[in-house]
Amino acid sequence: MSGKSLLLKVILLGDGGVGKSSLMNRYVTNKFDSQAFHTIGVEFLNRDLEVDGRFVTLQIWDTAGQERFKSLRTPFYRGADCCLLTFSVDDRQSFENLGNWQKEFIYYADVKDPEHFPFVVLGNKVDKEDRQVTTEEAQTWCMENGDYPYLETSAKDDTNVTVAFEEAVRQVLAVEEQLEHCMLGHTIDLNSGSKAGSSCC
């Protein structure tokens, strides 16, 4: 493949138990484990893809379980390019909490332009029979809260999983032109090589 790849940080956000880790694992490893928790030591997984002729590396971040007791903060949120707000269609409370997760994300990620930030909403576990949230309800919420794309997925059945992540990329690319760059000046990343500065000796 030719051309440089754009690296995008994508986070999956929502109540514990809605299937975020399963979605990530299905997409990156094409495996499903109904007992899946986040893999110890793995914070994100990468996958390359091409969307509309653009080569992209998705860096998909796992919450590492910090959302279970409401303890997610800036190290997870900051620097995200797209947020996949995820609920489970068989868990009404996880749908009701979407707005709270969205607000928390905007707050801790320090989003510069919340009205144009790329959110995608996923209704997961559509393989389940005892549905508590209808498609129409979810679509209405998405329209009312920011006109977000809505996709119904199943990590178990591999329904719409690839489509969901491709939609995330499309949303980022669509706002890419409008991204304002914060004038931070030069910052230092300890992982890069040292900057050669003048020294006393």
Partner: protein
């Protein structure tokens, strides 16, 4: 659904300050099952940083803290016959003498909220209510507006300033200031009746000044999220233990840093920049050519002083301050070395201490920039959260807003067996790490705490004007009287993401001898002036103007022997709050020491396994990805292979 916690862990950590968070990450990384809790709604404890409204909530919390009525403990039933309980403290007593001064002008009738606020009273601790925890995943939003809350908070302040200081303050503030009497709608700090009328004059002319925009209190509130105000003010030495640890553990992936751009000195009523790198020394216009050679010669010696013991052996019994006088340096150079390079105490530091500090300063020069120091973007309060994130990635379980009611101690072995949390759940563990402020008073009765005096100022310009308005500076003001201490001033610009554009965030810190305001106010008055209506017209004013000021004393629980805590079980370890020092070495050393006691002979925070070391099975690999471009700095680590992965297994270590 409300998750319940497992009932057994290897390590339980109570408090999320920097030492606790580093230890939690290290234990989790070593395969221990870690539960990490904090009774507050935010990470960091006294290492935390807050938005402006978050800070106001924190202040309000300390006011309300004293009103907590302790209900009868419900955990008594769970204590067996062969057990006894150590009830943990429900009140945090580490913060005292809080005083707030608001000088920015007030816009009347404006009900202002912080833009994008997540929820009201974000930083407040919720009551231990199982129904609330079960019913909602989030704090309820309160109707009370921040402006109203701010007014209540400010009017509640009753600092105990004595009449002499009050008079002195009034004398300073009256200059150039007309009196205005406040009405009930005005939000004012209640330092004293006289101060109320003088601190916050109301402008009768409501039209904006044509030449310059005034910064108002409501603007600060509205832009409050631009502020990240640290409770403890520190910098990172570029070759210090914390930088080394961040790199080694790869926790640095979560953070970005800025270079401190200037070392400043305050001499003879003026602020000057201190040259410290070789290039700066020789380009300096403040030093004569002879002085430049003297300074370079002395600093070159300091870099290698251990090789030349004859040069200092005869001076080991005197202070570094006295030693400098013997080294043929001009008074100007002595000052620079003493207060801007070594930054040690004139009276308490030995010659060896001073040489060591000078060498360390020089050793840290040039690694990342022209000064030895870095500052974390968004404030020091980010760093505990970064280590907590690492702990969670390796399986640690995190619960904020989670109190521990007591430790359960076995009478026979004198070891701690379990905790009982706010829901009455008993959780077993082998080791317990508890931050100092959680211990009850009877356990700390023999501890002699020191105190740190702190001030936080929001100002409208830098103490030293230069071409760039994005300067990050450190300045040390020496102690003036015996029994007082040098004051460290750190001035942060908006590109550090700690304050809004057009303002600077200034932190002052010293060892306490009295209240924070008594210790720091004289330095504040030397460097800054209160923001008043009258002086807006006067372009001749050179000093920055204070829009808002906060003073408080913080307990320093560092370097306390565990034998000072009464009846401490052998498997309970104490983590201290922040110390007064500029760097973070104390916290990192404590974390490593305690880690070695819990996990002897194990590596302290080794880097996570490289992706290529991960054993893959299952699907065949796809071709390697092309090299990534435009990598966001916050995500600088990337897997070299990003193809389909089978089950991930760590290579045997």
């Amino acid at each position: 659904m409300a998750d319940t916690l497992p009932s057994e862990f290897d390590v339980i950590v109570i408090g999320t300050g920097l030492p606790e968070s580093i230890i939690a990450a290290a234990c989790s990384r070593s395969g221990r099952r870690v539960l990490h809790v904090d009774s507050r709604s935010y990470y960091g404890g006294n290492w935390a940083s807050f938005s402006f409204s978050g800070l106001l909530s924190w202040l309000k919390e300390y006011q309300e803290n004293s009103d907590i009525v302790s209900d009868s403990p419900v955990w008594q039933d769970q204590i067996l016959e062969n057990e006894e309980a150590i009830a943990l403290s429900r009140k945090d007593k580490t913060i005292q003498h809080v005083e707030v001064f608001c000088y920015a002008s007030q816009d009347l009738h404006e009900d202002v909220e912080e833009a994008g606020a997540l929820q009201k009273n974000h930083a407040l601790v919720t009551s231990a209510n199982s129904t609330e925890a079960a019913d909602s995943a989030f704090l309820p939003t309160e109707d009370e507006s921040l402006s109203t809350m701010s007014c209540e908070m400010l009017t509640e302040q009753t600092p105990s300033s004595d009449p002499e200081n009050a008079l002195e303050v009034n004398g300073a503030e009256v200059t150039g200031e007309k009196e205005n009497h406040c009405d009930d709608k005005t939000c004012v700090p209640s330092t004293s009746a006289e101060d109320m009328s003088e601190n916050v004059p109301i402008a009768e002319d409501t039209t904006e000044q044509p030449k310059k925009n005034r910064i108002t209190y409501s603007q600060i509130i509205k832009e409050g999220r631009r502020f990240n105000i640290d409770l403890v003010s520190k910098l990172l030495y570029s070759r210090g233990l914390l930088i080394d640890l961040l790199i080694k553990s790869n926790v640095s992936r979560y953070a970005e840093f800025k270079n401190i751009t200037r070392i400043l000195a305050f001499r003879e009523g003026r602020v000057e920049q201190v040259p410290c790198s070789r290039a700066d020394v020789f380009n300096s216009k403040q030093l004569t050519m002879v002085e430049k050679r003297m300074l370079m010669k002395f600093l070159t010696f300091c870099m290698e002083y251990e090789k030349y013991p004859d040069e200092y052996k005869g001076y080991e019994e005197i202070t570094f301050y006295e030693y400098l006088k013997t080294q043929k340096l001009t008074p100007n150079l002595q000052y620079i070395v003493m207060h801007s390079i070594a930054m040690t105490s004139e009276t308490a530091s030995s010659t060896i201490d001073g040489l060591k500090a000078t060498k360390n300063f020089l050793h840290c020069l040039g690694r990342y920039g022209n000064t030895p120091f870095l500052f974390p973007l968004y404030g020091q309060g980010e760093l505990p959260q970064c280590f907590c994130r690492m702990c969670a990635v390796f399986g640690g379980i995190y619960c904020l807003r989670h109190s521990v009611q007591c430790l359960v101690v076995d009478k026979e072995s004198r070891k701690c067996k379990a905790i009982i949390d706010q829901f009455g759940q008993r959780i077993i563990s082998e080791h317990f790490l508890v931050e100092d402020s959680y211990f009850p008073e009877n356990m700390c009765s023999r501890v002699q705490y020191r105190q740190i005096s702190r001030a936080v100022l929001i100002t409208d310009r830098s103490v030293l004007k230069t071409d760039s308005d994005q300067q990050i500076s450190i300045l040390t003001v020496p102690a003036e009287e015996p029994g007082t201490f040098a004051v460290r001033v750190i001035e942060l610009c908006s590109s550090t993401m700690t304050c809004m554009k057009g303002t600077y965030l200034v932190h002052l810190t010293c060892t306490s001898s009295k209240t924070a305001r008594e210790d720091l106010e004289s330095v504040v008055q030397k460097l800054f002036v209160p923001y008043t209506e009258m002086e807006i017209e006067n372009e001749q004013v050179e000093k920055p103007r204070i829009l808002w000021a906060l003073y408080f004393n913080m307990r320093d629980s560092s370097d306390i022997s565990r034998s000072c805590y009464n009846d401490l079980p052998s498997n309970v370890y104490v983590c201290s709050g922040p110390d007064c020092g500029l760097g973070n070495d104390n916290a990192v050393k404590q974390a490593e020491t305690l880690f070695q006691e819990i996990c002897p002979n194990e590596d302290f925070c080794p880097p996570p396994p490289n992706p290529e070391d991960i054993i893959l099975d299952g699907d065949s690999l796809q071709p390697e990805a092309s090299e990534s471009s435009a990598i966001p700095e916050a995500n600088s680590e990337t897997f070299k292979e990003s193809t389909n992965l089978g089950n991930l297994e760590e290579s045997s270590e």
